[in-house]
């Protein structure tokens, strides 16, 4: 809110209060209520709500609580002006105006209490209550004015009635009883809403809300008792005392609210305690607990930014998802030169005091930065462990594959040759030369297949052309053997370190196998070229796309590339083909 608006509201409340004060003190005996009660209501309650409301509004402009409190205060000032006008004019019309205006402040108070402390209704029941409360009080007041003799409503000097039907008594009694019962019901509903809100409030919020909630509950209970008694008891002194009690508690409510704010302020001392605690070295992961205690939020969680991963991890290096905005959880991101270093995930109630959260974060910055580096190292270690395990697993799977290929391929053929030769031997001297020749040729054909399969298998384990002639010829040979048409658009001149050549060849051959097997591609292009001391390998196909970078095949590629400090990127939009790009440092 702007300072000018704040000043205008403060001045209006001050002036209205002073005017009301002077008029009330100087006023005659025609008052329907005791002077003390009136002064507390239109000056005390008005000023305390406006003052506390302005503080809350300034501190937390988004939360409507402050604005509602200001509205309560101003409505009481306005009510005071109507009251004094009624006393001065002493006409039924001015009485009726004041009588109707009476329902305004109670509507706003009920609104405030029903939506406290968020400042907005969060459930359907709360919304219905707020609207019903505003709507119900006006017709009830109108009915009272029309059906109840005005002197019974407290207009001492008034003529008998505005519009009393019949002799007025039974209808008037009925209206008053219905009104009181309605107020009791609305008050009870409000009490229920407040209790539910209290029970659902989180730790930090309950802590700051405690004084406010206690006073509010006492207030509503007293109000309900007064309305209930009004239908049963006719003792004016008892009702007068209850009225006074309700209005005094009402005046105290903003003070309780300020006490809640002060309680948060007192937490600033927690920042000092935090600084002392951080002076000692903390065991890993302990910082989270220390911050949780300083902010009175046991659910607080710390997450550290890892630039490599482009995401947050906890102290153990596990990934952390940030909560969506607008929920029960809020996030405070700590930055260094504009770059995030860490995030505090905490209860949304702490947003009521952002300065405290910032102060705590600033105090813990050094320790957080330190823990972040540790978390980064742990995350890298975890990644290395996982990839080491995957490499071992991959090696085992590869050996199993070779064993299976040997048994199902070459060995099966050799068995067949042995059987065929056995049959031929059994026919020696029995069959004709021609039949023998056929049987032997069968065995020879099987032998040629076995040799070819063994050669293919050996090349799969390690292509000789790669170590003999280098990456370019090896890629060309790979392209020649591929079932899918392959264009090799670029190869690096000369030789590269063998680790680089082998990894590049492996990437191309795996990508080619995937293109043929999974992507149903009809054309593949491979390019490998030097770029600023790196070898850049790109394999693109025109297949179905949608390759999963975390699938075992691509994961294995990524691990092999990572082992050379290289980078692998997979671009595979569904239906748009797959492009695998690998950068390998050549270390020259």
């Amino acid at each position: 809110m702007s300072p000018r608006l704040r000043l205008a509201i403060a001045l209006a409340a001050l002036v209205a209060g002073l005017v009301n004060f002077v008029l009330l003190v100087r006023g005659g005996d025609g008052r329907p209520r005791p002077l003390a009660y009136l002064l507390i209501t239109v000056v005390g309650v008005s000023w305390s709500f406006v003052a506390a409301g302005l503080v809350a509004w300034t501190r937390r402009p988004v939360n409507r609580t402050g604005a509602l409190m200001v509205a309560v205060g101003l409505s009481y000032a306005l009510l005071g002006l109507f009251f004094n006008a009624m006393v001065l004019a002493a006409t039924p019309a001015s009485f009726a105006l004041w009588y109707l205006a009476n329902s305004l402040p109670s509507g706003v108070i009920a609104h405030l209490l029903a939506v406290f402390p968020d400042g907005r209704a969060t459930t359907r029941l709360q919304r219905v209550f707020v609207v019903a409360n505003y709507v119900a009080t006006v017709p009830l007041a109108v009915a009272q004015l029309l059906l109840v003799p005005l002197d019974r409503l407290g207009c001492a000097g008034c003529p008998d009635d505005l519009l009393v039907l019949g002799d007025g008594r039974p209808a008037g009694d009925a209206v008053l009883t219905v009104s009181n019962l309605s107020y009791v019901a609305l008050g009870g509903l409000l009490l229920w809403i407040m209790l539910v809100r209290w029970r659902q409030a989180s730790g930090p919020r309950q802590r700051s809300m405690a004084p406010v909630a206690v006073v509010a509950i006492v207030l509503v209970v007293a109000y309900v008792i007064r309305e209930a008694l009004e239908t049963l008891v006719t003792s004016p002194s008892l009702l007068g005392a209850l009225n006074l009690a309700v209005i005094v508690i009402l005046m105290l409510w903003p003070l309780a609210f300020l006490a809640g704010l002060a309680r948060m302020r007192l937490d600033r001392s927690a920042v000092g305690d935090l600084a002392v605690q951080l002076g000692e070295p903390l065991p890993p992961g302990r910082l989270e607990q220390v911050l949780a205690r300083a902010l009175h939020d046991p659910t607080l969680q710390l997450a550290y930014w890892l630039p490599d991963r482009d995401g947050f991890v906890d102290a153990a290096g596990r990934p952390v998802e940030l909560p969506a905005e607008g929920g029960d959880r809020a996030v405070t991101i700590l930055r260094h030169d504009g770059d995030p270093i860490a995030a505090m995930l905490h209860d949304a109630a702490l947003d009521d005091d952002p300065e405290l959260v910032r102060a705590v974060a600033a105090t813990a910055r050094m320790t957080i930065e330190n823990e972040r580096l540790q978390a980064e190292v742990r995350a890298q270690l975890e990644e290395v462990r996982a990839s080491r395990a995957r490499i071992v697993e991959f090696g085992d799977a590869e050996r199993r594959r070779v064993e299976r290929n040997l048994h199902d391929g070459a060995q099966q053929r050799l068995v067949n040759i042995s059987l065929a030769l056995g049959i031929a031997r059994s026919q020696v001297g029995v069959a004709s030369d021609r039949e023998m020749a056929v049987a032997l040729e069968e065995a020879a054909a099987e032998l040629r297949l076995a040799v070819a399969e063994l050669r293919e298998l050996a090349r799969g384990i390690h292509p000789v052309i790669l170590s003999e002639a280098g990456l370019g010829p090896a890629l060309a040979a790979l392209a020649d053997r591929s079932p899918v048409p392959v264009t090799v658009t670029a190869v690096p001149p000369g030789r590269l370190p063998s680790r680089v050549e082998e990894t590049a060849y492996y990437v191309a051959s795996e990508a080619l196998a995937n293109a043929a097997k999974h992507a149903k591609a009809t054309a593949v292009s491979i390019s490998a070229r030097r770029l600023d001391g790196d070898l850049l390998v790109e394999v693109g196909d025109d297949g179905v796309g949608g390759a999963d970078p975390d699938g075992s095949g691509l994961r294995g590629l990524a691990d092999r590339v990572a082992a050379l400090d290289g980078r692998l990127r997979v671009h595979s939009p569904t239906g748009k083909g797959t492009c695998i790009t690998v950068e390998l440092p050549c270390g020259s």
């Binding site: 048994h407 199902d408 060995q411 099966q412 068995v415 067949n416 059987l419 056995g422 049959i423 059994s426």
Partner: protein, 122 residues
């Protein structure tokens, strides 16, 4: 009377060679199966004296087929075979209820006949 034989293997080359070899070696081949479930079905229908059963099959393996064929002692004589060595399978060959094991490379009519007429493994 020549013993009847069912050959179970998923390699067509092996099946045709084994058929030639074992028919020459005194068996009458009454059927061939290419997988385990097919073998069980055909064996129950044709009731051969002997089943030559590859251990490595596309669906259920040879041990499982042997167990299903046992039928409380009234089933056929089952002889397992594989390109792998018997030692690769350890005790499973004995435990599954098969009469014996012949490495594929050593298959012959004589080797198979050696398992007939004896209740224990040779």
């Amino acid at each position: 009377m020549r013993p009847t034989l069912l050959i179970v293997d998923d390699h067509p080359g092996f099946r045709s060679l084994a058929r030639k070899l074992l028919e020459a070696g005194g068996f009458r081949v009454v059927g061939e199966a290419t997988d385990g479930l097919g073998a069980v079905a055909i064996a129950r229908e044709l009731r051969p004296d002997v089943v030559l059963l590859d251990i490595q099959l596309p669906d259920i393996d040879g041990f499982e087929v042997t167990a299903r064929l046992a039928d409380g002692g009234t089933g056929p004589v089952v002889v397992l075979t594989s390109t792998r060595d018997r030692a690769d399978y350890g005790e499973r060959v004995e435990r599954c209820g098969a009469r014996g094991f012949i490495p594929k490379a050593e298959l012959s009519g004589a080797a198979l006949r050696a398992f007939l007429g004896s209740d224990r493994m040779g």
